[in-house]
């Protein structure tokens, strides 16, 4: 959804004004676009890129040393007019001529074509390089449209101009780069024009649109959603099937996000793509993963490969410094960290416990498995409660913690006693779950384990001491108080109820069971509280009426233990 604008019809002008204000130290505005402000200093062929807006950093974000000298900026998804293209070309020209570079769309071809006619009539040498990288858009290479491959072609053009080559050589390099470039994209969701209420298209639930356009055109074919690994294979398979003849084994690569497919997702996919490329014997040179040619707030991504020869590799890797693309090789470090310097975690050692203690340790393992099952069943519900005023990760975090604990328990020797078992579980929980609840649960389990040591049975006294150590750790580390709407608000009532019952001589199973019921009630009562600490505090009002997720999971766990004590 495009939200920020004043008059939707003036979106392009308004965004360009802000952009020019931002980069006023290095770019100048002309009617119809932007040019580098040091045109007069550059005795170079002018590379002028362009097309509609809505694709940032294409096109204005790619203007700067080593890249484009100017960008023509049309309205959203609309070719700029011939007058605008001519204006920007004229402003960027230093007398060595202008190369217009743009994606192969009818409107751009016509408007840049007319602009070329006008400038040629004025005595300026003008060439045109059309980008035709999208293999999904046509079988005939010359009919294909330009998508993220715009970037690799622009990059080569900018590098050749910066090398001082003449206009024939710059044009030829651009054509060569385009001939070596192939892209395939997929759409996950459509984009919304400023002022519009509905996206331009929608991808059916559970599907992706194969062969996307970068102007909100839906994919050519809707196929079922696939895992990242499968998508990586599909990208590589299809692009390699369209490899240029005489292709070598060195490629530039661009994994481009369309707008709402975010960085972490792209990195994840890149991990799979790079494995696929390596498996096919391709060597990737300085890959780019990020947003280079977007489509407003569209969801989706594309893979571009440009097969390199020595010249193309030099131009692809050359320095550039534009608002949205900066590569300065001298700023890179030279030396690598030896992997031996990287520290590893220490190994734990365990003394052998006697049989009764081992039996108790086995009971703890059984209960832990039971708690893991219970947490898995309640993951969604805990997440839902947590999302009301928090980030909704409580269910997942608890599950991650208990699963880490179970994993380390499987690796422990069977002869380990109950204290070390609890301690190891706590350490694994804290290390793997992270987060607030992770460190609190981990430390509390460690404290409980230290108290338990190699106890051989659990009577009222042992249980009370262990529970006390567990709770005290949470109080000390968390720094919260009863009534702050945290896990303490079910834990502390539980501890008080348990201690009182045990003190009065009630048997452990009955005392625990009654205390667990009190914990359940106390957890429910947190719905009436407002948070005093932690991330939920700023959202105090929204939190009213919903119980605390940490107090709720605490109550669930002591109840599950009660079931086992019976």
């Amino acid at each position: 959804m495009t939200v920020l604008f004043d008059d939707p019809a003036k979106f392009m002008e308004d965004q360009l004004a802000g952009f020019l204000e931002l980069y006023s130290d290095r770019l100048a505005g002309v009617e119809g676009g932007v040019v580098v402000s040091d045109v007069a200093d550059r005795d170079q062929v002018a590379v002028v890129v362009g097309g509609g807006s809505g694709h940032y950093p294409a096109f204005s974000g790619l203007v700067g040393p080593g890249l484009a000298h100017g960008a023509v900026v049309g309205n959203i998804f609309t070719s700029p007019s011939a007058r605008w293209a001519a204006n920007v070309g004229r402003a960027a020209d230093t007398g060595r001529g202008v190369v217009f570079a743009f994606g192969n769309y009818a409107g751009d071809v016509m408007n840049f074509g007319l602009a070329k006619q006008r400038l040629v009539a004025e005595g300026i040498d003008v060439r045109m390089v059309l980008v035709t990288d999208d293999i999904a858009s046509a079988n005939e290479p010359e009919k294909r449209r330009g998508i993220a491959g715009d970037f690799s072609v622009f990059k080569v053009l900018g590098a050749t101009a910066a090398e001082g080559l003449g206009i024939d050589a710059v044009e030829a390099a651009g054509i060569r780069a385009n001939a070596a470039t192939r892209t395939l994209g997929v759409a996950f969701s459509g984009c919304t024009m400023p002022g519009a209420q509905e996206p331009l298209f929608q991808v059916p639930q559970g599907h992706l649109g194969l062969g996307l356009g970068i102007h909100g055109e839906p994919g050519i074919e809707d196929v079922p959603l696939m895992r990242a690994e499968q998508l990586a294979r599909l990208f590589v398979d299809r692009i390699l099937a369209e490899a240029p003849s005489e292709a070598g084994n060195r490629v530039a690569a661009i994994l481009n996000g369309l707008g709402t497919t975010k960085y972490e997702e792209l990195f994840l996919l890149w991990g799979k793509v790079s494995q696929e490329l390596a498996a096919r014997g391709l060597e990737v040179v300085q890959p780019e993963v990020g947003e280079l040619v977007t489509s407003l707030d569209m969801g989706g991504c594309s893979l571009t490969l440009m097969w390199l020869d020595d010249d193309l590799e030099r131009w692809w890797t050359a320095d550039a410094y534009a608002p949205a693309f900066r590569k300065v090789s001298s700023a890179l470090p030279k030396k690598s960290l030896a992997s031996a310097e990287i520290s590893t975690a220490s190994q734990m050692e365990f003394a052998e416990a006697d049989a009764a203690a081992q039996k108790l340790a086995t009971d703890i393992r059984t209960v832990a498995e039971s708690i893991a099952t219970m947490l898995a069943e309640n993951e969604d519900e805990l997440g839902r409660i947590d999302a009301v005023a928090g980030d909704g990760d409580h269910g997942r975090g608890m599950l991650r913690g208990i699963n880490a604990a179970l994993q380390v328990l499987k690796e422990l020797p069977e002869y380990a006693g109950p204290g070390p078992v609890l301690g190891a579980a706590g350490q694994a929980w804290a290390d793997d779950a992270g987060g607030t609840s992770g460190v609190l649960w981990g430390a509390a389990l460690e404290a409980a384990g230290a108290r338990l040591e190699n106890a051989m049975y659990y009577d009222a006294e042992v249980a009370a001491g262990v529970v006390q150590a567990f709770a005290q750790s949470m109080v000390d580390l968390g720094g919260a108080h009863e009534g702050d709407k945290t896990l303490l608000d079910s834990l502390l009532p539980f501890v008080q109820s348990l201690e009182k019952a045990l003190h009065c001589g009630v048997e452990l199973p009955q005392a625990w069971s009654a205390a667990a019921a009190d914990a359940t009630a106390a957890a429910a009562d947190t719905a009436q509280m407002t948070p005093k600490v932690g991330r939920a505090r700023p959202l105090a009002a929204k939190s009213l009426g919903t119980p605390d997720a940490g107090a709720t999971s605490m109550a669930m766990i002591v109840n599950r233990i009660a079931d086992h004590l019976k």
Copy 2:
């Protein structure tokens, strides 16, 4: 929606693996995060930032010369464990100590605190700098959470470390930067955890959430959606009300996008924000507009100001070179383009036409206004048709063209004849609308105007000649053929029908009316065609069943002219 992943529970590990592969030339992975690979070359205090993932480029994208030496990477929106933080700190330390910097969240405070204890026990000097920039999160500054102000604090820490300062000075600079930094954010839409079907929260339709969190926490208060100008004022008003005491008039600024609020929107808002700041007498130093601290695919943005003194300004503007933030001052141009060099459009001149010709020109203006009204009424419908296999901008493009034509007609002298009037309208249409239909309509109107010259009336012969010139221009320039599913598919049947009727002696109004009806039928028939040219061609199959938008608007326009001829 987070779409790309394999196992949602391993999202963080998988994305980190891809990230490390991508930057293997300069970063090294350690358990729990990343460090610069040239640690051993840097005799510097190590700045180690961190927190949960889902915030890229925070935190791993900010590791590099002049910025952080390492980043601890937790699970999505979850604090990393103490072990991970200790690991990364240990790997980044060169013997001059470690400064941990992170947002003020309970989990991070506890885990980094424990990590500090462990490292101190190993003999490493460790300090902690907490970021507390979010003014919406608490009244008491020390209770505030850290959001996009993370970046300004990290930037200062990195610059001081790069200057070779000792750990006391680096820590003090970080605390000073945090004390000078204020942020306010707004949310437009929630974010979705990998594997989840629903976003963590939703902003009510037509509202924005004021005081967002960066972990999918909803805003503190839902307020009605506002224009960019109003939002800029709100940001500046509220942040200035929280300015530090002794604040000067120089500020660093960050306009940060949360994930799906895209660049063009941010630039547009920045234009308004910079005006507001200038109006309050504030001078902005090297503002940053883009995505620096995100929240998965959340919609929203925040404004951060850091009030500068001479030291903070030097550190804010210092060079840095990380994956996602690069500033190399020597790469910037030195000289500016004089504004006089920027070309402007030429002025048209008009001869005075006689009275009858002026009358005909007035008729043309009246018809143009009528067509504009009709196109405004049909903008949405034309957009809808166009969106089926195109980018949905046809209605808007046509409206922009006719409105540009009307505007220039208002500025023309009243004595201009019909030919110049049509010609000027065509030129304005092409210049302002851009796009394929813009250049075709513009050129065709110019051609029609050239044919019309200063005709004083329209008879059958004049009308036939003008229409012929109009159509021929579209055929020549567009290069399409009948049956390609373009505007020619209603225009050419219209021309044939009109010429035939006129040839047989039918009066112009009747002949035009009948031909317009034929155009309507022909436009409807394009629903059975598949596109052969243009952007819609790759989507041929999807296009079946929907008429061509250009053919449809053409038929609408000739029908509207028919109404006036009657």
